[in-house]
């Protein structure tokens, strides 16, 4: 046999076994390609979702109030772990936990028990380096509030990327981002190889609130201090910028992220409601500023069965005097002249019985359902703040209207919202007169303890009996004490409301709440460096506190 033929035969002999291999390759690569490709992809490639952190919440100056941080959760797969005690020993130092505690967590009924939550990146990396089979790490985000409980009633709470209350709930959509999708493949050792990413994911920008962290702190500190000295059951302090309607502070006591009493709780406000009657009387010209109204020497029978009393009996008082002395008889006589329709219109005009529209969850509208069926008694009692339920924010919005020259503004909680004028409540001359009346209240009336030497303050005190929830009757021993006002009276920078529920030592608004108002206002003045006003604008700034009798703080 020639050599060439022999070589060919040997070659064929060696190549023959390759033929079925080639056929099998063709079968796998061509005929079954689609199926096998899908299987391989499932085995090696992974789709990961990068965490898109929930947006930060900042105050008006950019200081962070709420922030999301990436944290890792460590879990175990019981089917893959042979020696749990050994794993517990290994993890103890890294997790800063006792092996016993880790073992206890491992004993849970689940197949994948969580051994540790909220691990830092360094801890997670150290655990990965241990290369213990059966342990897994999952990335998640956790919400932190760097200022502790500061403004927690406004911020609310978020968990697992979902807002549960407060700003976290009402601005949930704005705060939530969209995670980015990543495609990777894993090599034999389990290492990831980046393939591509989908760019539709985004992390939202921080949400700036109108709250000022420092002002909020001042409000909360003053409220906490009042809680200590007066043993109050609960309380609220609100501070608003009259020119824009932006809320600068919204403090509550006790503080909880699950409830915001400033907008969710209603109460009978007492004499701070006298402003509604006074505005309606001036606007409809049923009372002149000089007119003297007979105040019945402190006792006035509206009907044979119902008699109204004043704490401080008076004979004749002007409308300003009625507000200064907070005379229930005087204001009742005025409201009877104003009449039910005009009073009701003014009440609505000030924004009572309607939600203010602030973008926070669970706002109450207030209550006065049976108004139309009631007679003179309900009208007169409403004129001094009984029989009507309002929220603290509604009261502040009403006084803010006077501070803003008669324009009712929408209270705002985020700088992203544009200031909105709702309506003009009263004429400029009426508002000017009212401002003067409110200044008189502080200068020579029940609000004397709200005075600040060198600054003009306008405001009104309010005291009301609490309703006993069990008996549904007015309590004889528990009161709501409030003071609401603004300063400087001529060019207001801040409207401030202080409501204290159930103060023990003093219970009149002028005794309990006005000093808190004054304390907050003094610190605001110091904080912002507001220079004193010309003496000509302050009529009686250094009025002694002692000349006002204790009974006239109502």
């Amino acid at each position: 046999m020639p050599t060439k033929k022999r070589i060919s035969l040997v070659s064929l002999f060696f190549l023959f076994p390759v033929i079925p291999l080639i056929l099998r390759l063709l079968d796998l690569q061509v005929r079954d390609h689609a199926n096998l490709s899908i299987k391989a992809n499932k085995e090696f490639s992974r789709t990961l979702w990068e965490i898109s952190p929930r947006a930060d919440i900042t105050d008006r100056n950019g200081d962070i109030l709420a922030q999301s941080l990436p944290v890792w959760r460590l879990f175990a797969d019981k089917k893959m772990i042979q020696n749990p005690n050994f794993v517990a020993q290994k993890l103890a130092r890294l997790l800063k936990m006792s092996p016993l505690e880790i073992s206890r967590r491992y004993q849970s009924r689940k197949r994948f028990p969580v051994l540790a939550d909220s691990l830092s990146y360094d801890q997670a990396e150290a655990i990965e380096k241990l290369k213990i089979g059966g342990l897994g790490l999952s990335l998640r985000e956790r919400r932190f509030y760097p200022n502790g409980s500061l403004a927690s009633n406004v911020l609310g709470k978020a968990s697992d990327g979902q807002g549960l209350s407060g700003v976290e709930l009402s601005w949930n959509k704005r705060l939530t981002g969209k995670p980015r999708r990543l495609r990777v493949i894993r090599d034999g050792s389990g290492k990831m190889i980046y393939l591509n990413a989908d760019n539709s994911g985004f992390t939202p920008k921080p949400l700036p609130l109108t709250i000022d962290r420092d002002i909020q702190y001042i409000a909360e500190e003053a409220l906490d201090s009042a809680a200590k000295t007066l043993s109050i059951k609960s309380g609220t302090v609100l501070i608003e910028d009259p020119q824009t309607g932006q809320i600068l502070a919204m403090a509550s006591y006790p503080r909880t992220p699950l409830k915001n009493p400033a907008i969710q709780d209603t109460y009978e406000p007492g004499s701070v409601m006298k402003i509604v009657t006074a505005t309606a009387a001036l606007e409809n010209k049923v009372v002149s500023t000089a007119e003297q109204i007979f105040c019945e020497n402190g006792s006035f029978a509206i009907t044979p069965r119902v008699t109204i009393h004043d704490d401080e009996p008076s004979q004749y008082l002007t409308l300003s005097g009625i507000l200064e002395r907070s005379s229930n008889i005087g204001i009742s006589k005025v409201v009877l002249r104003v009449g039910k329709p005009a009073f009701y219109r003014m009440l609505r005009a000030y924004g009572f019985l309607n939600k203010t529209g602030i973008r926070l969850p669970g706002e109450a509208a207030g209550d006065w359902k049976t108004f139309n069926k009631r007679g003179e008694i309900s009208l007169t009692s409403a004129s001094y703040g009984y029989g009507v339920a309002v929220t603290p924010l509604q009261v502040l919005a009403a006084y803010n209207t006077v501070a803003a020259g008669g324009i009712l503004r929408q209270p705002l909680i985020s700088i992203e919202e544009s200031p909105d004028k709702i309506r003009k409540v009263a004429s400029s001359s009426t508002i000017e007169t009212l401002t003067q009346f409110l200044e008189n209240v502080v200068e020579k009336g029940t609000g004397a303890l709200a005075q600040i030497p060198g600054y003009s303050v306008a405001g009104k005190t309010g005291t009301s009996h609490e309703i006993n929830p069990k008996t549904k009757k007015y309590s004889r021993t528990k009161y709501n004490a409030s003071f609401v006002g603004f300063l400087p009276a001529n060019h207001p920078l801040w409207s401030i409301l202080v409501v204290l529920n159930g103060p023990k030592k003093y219970y009149y608004g002028g005794q309990a709440s006005a000093p808190v108002f004054s304390e907050i206002a003094r610190r605001l003045i110091a904080l912002k460096g507001l220079p004193p006003e010309p003496s000509s604008t302050i009529q009686n700034a250094n009025l002694s506190k002692n000349i006002v009798p204790a009974a006239s703080f109502r």
């Binding site: 962070i64 922030q67 990436p70 990777v184 190889i193 420092d214 003094r522 003045i525 010309p534 003496s535």
Partner: protein, 115 residues
């Protein structure tokens, strides 16, 4: 000879092509590793940055500052009456004739004398 040369060239080009494809795949994989590593280190840095930011915010919160100022420096909030506004003196002083510049007084006295 010519045919052999052409087929040799083609073989060489094919081999070169295969090498190029293989090199490209190896490079892509290498790059994939690097991107993944970069992504992980970015994640780590971002995580550390946000922890530091949180610590900074906590340390500069009004509550912490107030506590530290009180405990370590014995500081208390300044009462309003102890604050002096240097660039804008109290207006009652401005309104007083005593504070007018001396040359104004001289002019005024001269005017009085002359009338």
């Amino acid at each position: 000879m010519n045919k052999k040369f052409i087929s040799g060239k083609l073989l060489f080009l094919a081999a070169l092509g295969i090498l190029l494809i293989a090199w490209e795949r190896i490079e892509a994989t290498e790059l994939g590793y690097r991107v993944e590593e970069g992504r992980k280190s970015l994640e780590a840095l971002e995580s550390q940055a946000s922890i530091l930011e949180k610590n900074l915010e906590t340390a500069s919160s009004p509550e912490t500052l107030s506590r530290l100022a009180g405990e370590k420096l014995q500081m208390i909030p300044a009462p309003l009456k102890s604050i002096k506004f240097m660039d804008s003196p109290p207006p009652q002083e401005v309104a007083s004739f005593q504070n007018f510049p001396s040359h104004f007084w001289r002019k005024l006295k001269f005017w009085r004398r002359s009338t």
